[in-house]
């Protein structure tokens, strides 16, 4: 029942807003739909905590502590981003960058994108997960090119081609997986269900599975934005409307990583040596290092934070690659805090570039003078994402680093250097944007500041004190994947 609500509301919202998305009250409907989805996900979470894992509709959907936690996070960020998008899109309309028809497309696709995200998470069928992940690209690609500028069309084309090709590799991986599973489970619907695959994972053919994992990692890894498959990510983040940048970083990357981690758990059961973990650690570390060095070369503010997303996805991939209860716990915590912090940063960045009329960092100056809350939001958000205590990112990065020192000491210098370089790059660029002589003007609509500080507040709380039920929940999920 709750599953039907979580899936049905955004789907219905997408169809409804396809009809009325251009009206003046459409942003409120959009936010309301996301709020109902979030409410349903809270009910679902309560149900899973009380009754344990469950499945629905002939086992086509299933919920366990790992995915229910991501469903709640996804629905929450989708809701707060919808709140942010209300004033943001109104200001864009005021500036004449979007018209009514494009707003309708935007609102409808926003809901459909949320739908594909929860479908990915809740689906028990690997094939459907693939379909939904491709659907996520299809629903956002026209949003990346929403402004129809040459740069945005280029970004959208790149996004479309690279992600489609990447995800096609993942389909080959799914076929190989089915090929191996069918021998054990027999042909038909059940051979692609995660729950059934997990039960027989030690009987699956190891050679086929290791090849399948390579394809799955490359395919889903393209969506995670792992180096060297990351080329679409900075462009898509920089050229689309900012709420889309926020949901790409906050939701899509997480969900793609979820698919990688699920595959890893499966492959680890079939293979004796730590094949999948090694690959993920390699990709993760490469992403962290490369992204950190690209950070300092950026001039566009949204591109810079897009590279920061690549860096953090690398950290998480590395953590899940290490495996073990502590690293998995830290990886999950990092997923949560990164998604919250990065979307909060994008909210402030969106308003900052609206107030100054540019995304070029050299021309954004003295935010704090004109609109103190936006300035403070950006400053605090940047400190949080750089891993300053007492924010939650510090906790998770600290856990990942100490585990790495313990188990893979060779990797720690790379991580530390990359984190240092990232700190210098981002801090050095954010500081003059926040303080100094102001270049910002007044916004025609009051900016959305509540979501920013709610997100940062939660991240701060998670750094100081993780409530026991949340710890318990993370532990359960970490046990599933660790």
């Amino acid at each position: 029942m709750e599953i039907a609500l979580v899936l049905g509301v955004p789907l219905a919202g997408g169809l409804l807003l396809g009809l009325v998305g251009h009206r003046s009250w459409a942003p409120e409907v959009n936010a309301l739909m996301s709020l109902v989805t979030f409410g349903a996900s809270v009910l679902l979470t309560a149900r899973v905590i009380a009754d344990g894992p469950m499945s629905a509709l002939d086992e086509q959907f299933f919920v366990d502590p790992f995915n229910v936690f991501l469903v709640a996070l996804t629905a929450f960020v989708a809701f707060t981003t919808a709140l942010f998008s209300r004033p943001y899109m109104r200001i864009e309309q005021h500036h004449g960058r979007v018209n009514a028809a494009r707003l309708r497309l935007y609102h409808s696709m926003y809901q459909l994108f949320s739908f594909t995200m929860v479908l990915c998470l809740l689906s028990n069928n690997v094939g459907i997960l693939w379909v939904a992940l491709e659907g996520a690209t299809l629903s956002t690609v026209l949003l990346v090119s929403l402004y129809r500028t040459p740069a945005s069309l280029e970004a959208a084309w790149k996004y479309f081609i690279l992600c489609s090709v990447g995800i096609a590799q993942a389909l080959f991986g799914v076929i190989l997986l089915y090929f191996a599973a069918e021998k054990v489970l027999g042909p038909g619907g059940t051979s692609l269900l995660w729950t059934h695959l997990y039960e027989v994972r030690d009987q699956l053919e190891p050679t086929v599975l290791s090849l399948a994992f390579v394809f799955l990692l490359v395919g889903f890894g393209t969506k995670v934005g792992l180096v060297p498959l990351h080329n679409w990510l900075p462009d898509a983040h920089a050229e689309g409307p900012t709420p889309i940048s926020a949901v790409l970083s906050g939701l899509l990357l997480n969900v793609a990583l979820y698919a990688v981690v699920r595959s890893k758990v499966l492959i680890d059961g079939a293979l004796e040596r730590n094949f999948s973990g090694g690959l993920m650690m390699g990709f993760g570390l490469l992403s962290v290092v490369v992204a950190a060095f690209f950070l300092s070369r950026q001039r566009d503010i949204k591109r810079m934070f897009a590279y920061s997303s690549i860096e953090h996805m690398g950290i998480m991939t590395f953590a899940f690659g290490m495996g073990g209860a502590v690293a998995a716990f830290a990886g999950l915590l990092h997923m949560t805090v990164h998604s919250l912090t990065k979307s909060a940063i994008f909210f402030t960045v969106g308003h900052a570039s609206q107030a100054t009329g540019t995304q070029n960092m050299a021309q954004i100056r003295g935010l704090i003078e004109q609109s103190p809350m936006i300035g403070w939001g950006l400053a605090l958000g940047s400190l949080a994402i750089l891993g300053m205590p007492p924010f939650g990112v510090f906790t998770s990065e600290f856990m990942i680093l100490t585990t790495a020192m313990h188990e893979h000491p060779w990797a720690t210098p790379f991580l530390l250097v990359a984190l240092g370089v990232a700190f210098a790059a981002i801090f050095g660029k954010v500081q003059p944007m926040v303080f100094g002589e102001s270049t910002a003007g007044r916004l025609p609509h009051p900016p959305a500041l509540v979501p920013v500080f709610v997100h940062l507040g939660i991240v701060l709380l998670l750094g100081v004190y993780i409530p026991p039920y949340l710890t318990d929940w993370y532990r359960q999920a970490a046990r599933l994947i660790g």
């Binding site: 094939g127 459907i128 693939w130 299809l138 280029e154 489609s164 090929f179 042909p187």
Partner: protein, 218 residues
């Protein structure tokens, strides 16, 4: 080997041959025709596998391939290039003989990769997995070496053909619900590509993606 198995092998060879022909083809219109033929070969092989093994859901799959990849998508692409006037399109990144040589190397690599897996298959069509992988890689190559938007899209669709062939040849097809979902994605994707062509044309007056290389790290 049974007759059905032999026919499927023949069709598989045809699929690979069309893959190479697409790589060598300079004209967009012919490229679309080749794509339709590749879809037809795929549908025929699916049909034969369905008939000889009695897997009824493969009939649906074959019907889906015919409607989508032999009729609908080629028709849409045809309409598009008519409206956009881009029938003569002759640009590749690397010259065609070199491309074909790389293609041959890729095919050999695909066979080497698929051999250990094919040994495990107990389907009538097991030896065709290598061909399926080779078709995927050839389509991939085509996407890399083509300069224009339409051939890139055809490359993407040809890749999907190769993947479907891998699914039927190695496993008698994926569960129907998955195949339907994949088909839906391909269809929606093609329409979005179509919308894109118009936007790109409007903005750059050409479908050459060289205009779209400004977003780079310096």
């Amino acid at each position: 080997m049974s007759l059905a198995g032999q026919i499927v092998n023949l069709l598989a060879a045809l699929l690979l041959l069309i893959g190479f022909a697409m790589l060598a083809q300079r004209r967009i219109l012919t490229l679309i025709h080749l794509f339709a033929w590749q879809g037809a070969a795929l549908a025929a092989s699916t049909l034969i596998v369905a008939y000889s093994t009695g897997q009824t859901h493969l009939y649906f799959s074959a019907a889906l391939t015919v409607t989508l990849k032999v009729i609908l998508i080629p028709w849409v692409l045809h309409r598009l290039i008519d409206r956009l006037n881009v029938r003569w399109d002759v640009e590749t990144l690397i010259n065609i003989p070199t491309t074909l040589l790389i293609g041959i190397a890729l095919a050999i690599f695909a066979f080497a990769l698929a051999t250990p897996i094919s040994q495990l298959a107990n389907t009538i069509t097991r030896s065709t997995l290598g061909i399926a992988l080779a078709s995927v890689l050839l389509a991939f190559l085509m996407m890399i070496v083509r300069r224009k938007a339409v051939p890139q899209v055809i490359g993407f669709l040809a890749m999907e053909n190769g993947l479907f062939f891998a699914a039927t040849s190695a496993t008698y097809g994926m569960p129907l619900v998955v195949e339907l979902g994949v088909a839906l994605d391909v269809l929606v994707g093609t329409f979005i590509f179509g919308i894109f062509f118009f936007h790109i044309r409007e903005q750059f007056d050409s479908l050459d993606i060289r205009h779209m290389e400004t977003l780079k790290e310096d």
